[in-house]
């Protein structure tokens, strides 16, 4: 049975007895725990949010992998061609067909840059969209947290930790997918492509892709998170989904 006397006594405790001051806080440790809980318990939603990043980054990575692979193959061909034809100091072929080869290389790079931009755009739109969704379906929860004393910044913090984590995880998966698929494709064309590639350059591209994925998720999550945090609790609580 409910011991109402004890309950009443507990509910009458003063600040000193509760050992609390006048602060309102959300320690980072707790914030991390809550965010991770949101990720692990809403796995479906988290997967959708992350899939935007995965797709974008996989696209980006496939472009970069193919660039490194093609350059590797070309370098190898040039080295074997060095014996028969002359070259300038930059290593470009001189002689018959050299100009076409150079022009072709420039065209290819321009096309690839265009693809990179496109993939980043896809990435950002995907994340913003899924973040908007996941914030909207949590309006009620946000309202409740604000009723319990959460400051706007706590709400933003929780969402940003969550997306930064999802963004990083999605980028890792995207990098692996994009890289592996392209590597397989080129290995089918040329079995020794892995030996011809510049792996230092590849690693740099991997790190850049990870950074871009995480950063874009972070940026894309800010507007919906701030919007949700600024809502008056009454309005947030009334939303029905």
């Amino acid at each position: 049975m409910i011991d109402i006397k004890k309950l009443a006594e507990l509910s009458r405790q003063t600040d000193t007895e509760l050992k609390i001051g006048r602060q309102i806080t959300l320690p980072w440790g707790n914030a991390f725990k809550i965010s991770m809980r949101n990720v692990t318990l809403r796995l479906g939603r988290a997967a959708i949010t992350a899939s935007g990043v995965v797709l974008g980054i996989a696209f980006l990575m496939s472009v970069w992998t193919s660039r490194v692979a093609i350059e590797g193959i070309e370098r190898f061909e040039q080295q074997s061609a060095r014996a028969v034809s002359a070259m300038d100091e930059e290593g470009n072929l001189i002689g018959p067909g050299a100009e076409e080869a150079l022009a072709e290389k420039n065209r290819r790079n321009a096309r690839q840059n265009w693809l990179v931009v496109m993939s980043l755009l896809v990435c950002t739109v995907g994340i913003t969209n899924s973040m908007l969704m996941s914030v909207t379906e949590r309006f009620r929860e946000i309202g409740t947290m604000k009723c319990l004393g959460a400051l706007d910044v706590f709400i933003v913090r929780l969402f940003l930790i969550e997306t930064a984590f999802l963004g990083f995880l999605g980028s890792v998966v995207g990098v692996i997918i994009g890289h592996v698929i392209m590597l397989i494709t080129y290995t089918i064309k040329d079995h020794s492509v892995a030996a011809k590639m510049d792996w230092g350059e590849m690693l740099m591209y991997v790190l850049i892709a990870l950074a871009i994925g995480t950063f874009l998720s972070f940026i894309a999550a800010i507007p919906p998170a701030v919007r949700a945090a600024r809502m008056p609790p009454a309005a947030a609580l009334q939303t029905e989904i």
């Binding site: 507990l10 309102i24 604000k146 004393g149 400051l151 706007d152």
Partner: protein
């Protein structure tokens, strides 16, 4: 802590409380306190509280509270100048048909929404004067909320739901766990502290919500239709729990409801109609036959 000095008699006190009236000469200290709050770090000291000093008769007062919503090109007046004084330790029910404005009034009193005009005082502090931090502090420490749809955080266990307001209040983890466990134990959920809300029945969820509302020892518990989603028997249990709390600890309970079972336990019933107070009844004045439930 903040040093408050009475402008009239020079009385000084280093206080942590909502000190709005000088304990010596009864002068109004609201203005002084507000200035102290402004000069404090980031204006975070406006609410200064000391339980021994705050003895205002009215814990909540509203003056000419109006709220207008714009819907398309129409303006809907949800509240039309509500004047209401709520005494400390009172069990007050706000009754009225749906759309009468009782939820709007509830939101204003709880600091969940801002009025279009008029003022709402909590412990004689004008809520419109509070900045975001002070308002959050008020919600965290002074007011406990209970909702019709429970509003527990679905991804958290019962214990985590109860301890969330304590995290915000800055309690240490050990203290918090201990207190959360005790609170849940006392509302009869000692066995279910690690259950998620969807693993609990409606009545159990509402009891978690009651435990959560008590987390930081609030002065006021605001309950918006606390029995609206519960069956008769469970609803009655929640009402009894609230009533007993009110009697034992003296916490003020303000409940928006149209549950007639509430009338039986309320000290006063405020009837709201078309956004204004229609009449206020005292329990002593009404003779009401409330049917008892089977098995009692």
């Amino acid at each position: 802590m903040a040093l408050i000095k009475c402008p009239k008699c020079g009385y000084q006190e280093d206080t942590t409380g909502l000190l709005t009236v000088c304990p010596k000469c009864r002068a109004d200290l609201t203005q002084v306190m507000h200035e102290v709050g402004k000069t404090g770090k980031k204006g975070r000291g406006g609410l200064v509280r000391d339980d021994s000093v705050t003895t205002h008769e009215f814990i909540v007062r509203t003056k000419g509270l109006t709220k207008e919503y714009t819907m398309g090109d129409q303006t809907v007046r949800a509240l039309r100048g509500v004047n209401l004084d709520i005494r400390r330790g009172e069990y007050l029910s706000i009754m009225g048909p749906s759309g009468s404005g009782k939820s709007t009034l509830f939101n204003m009193v709880g600091g969940l929404d801002k009025p279009t005009s008029g003022t709402c005082f909590i412990e004689e502090v004008d809520m419109a004067q509070l900045d975001a931090f002070e308002l959050a502090w008020l919600r965290c420490r002074k007011i406990g909320y209970i909702f019709q749809s429970f509003n527990l955080i679905p991804v958290m266990t019962a214990l985590e739901n109860v301890t969330l307001p304590m995290i915000f209040a800055g309690m240490s983890t050990d203290e918090m766990m201990e207190r959360g466990r005790t609170l849940l134990d006392l509302v009869g959920l000692g066995e279910r502290i690690h259950h998620k809300p969807f693993e609990l029945s409606g009545g159990q969820q509402q009891r978690v919500a009651v435990a959560r509302s008590l987390a930081n020892s609030p002065a006021i518990i605001l309950a918006d239709e606390p029995t609206g989603n519960l069956d008769l028997q469970t609803g009655k249990e929640i009402i009894d729990l609230l009533k007993e709390l009110n009697e034992e600890s003296g916490v003020t309970i303000i409940s928006a409801t149209h549950d007639l079972k509430m009338i039986d336990v309320s000290d006063r019933i405020v009837h709201i109609r078309d956004g204004d107070v229609e009449r206020i009844e005292r329990r002593e004045d009404i003779e009401l036959e409330v049917g008892t439930l089977g098995g009692e």
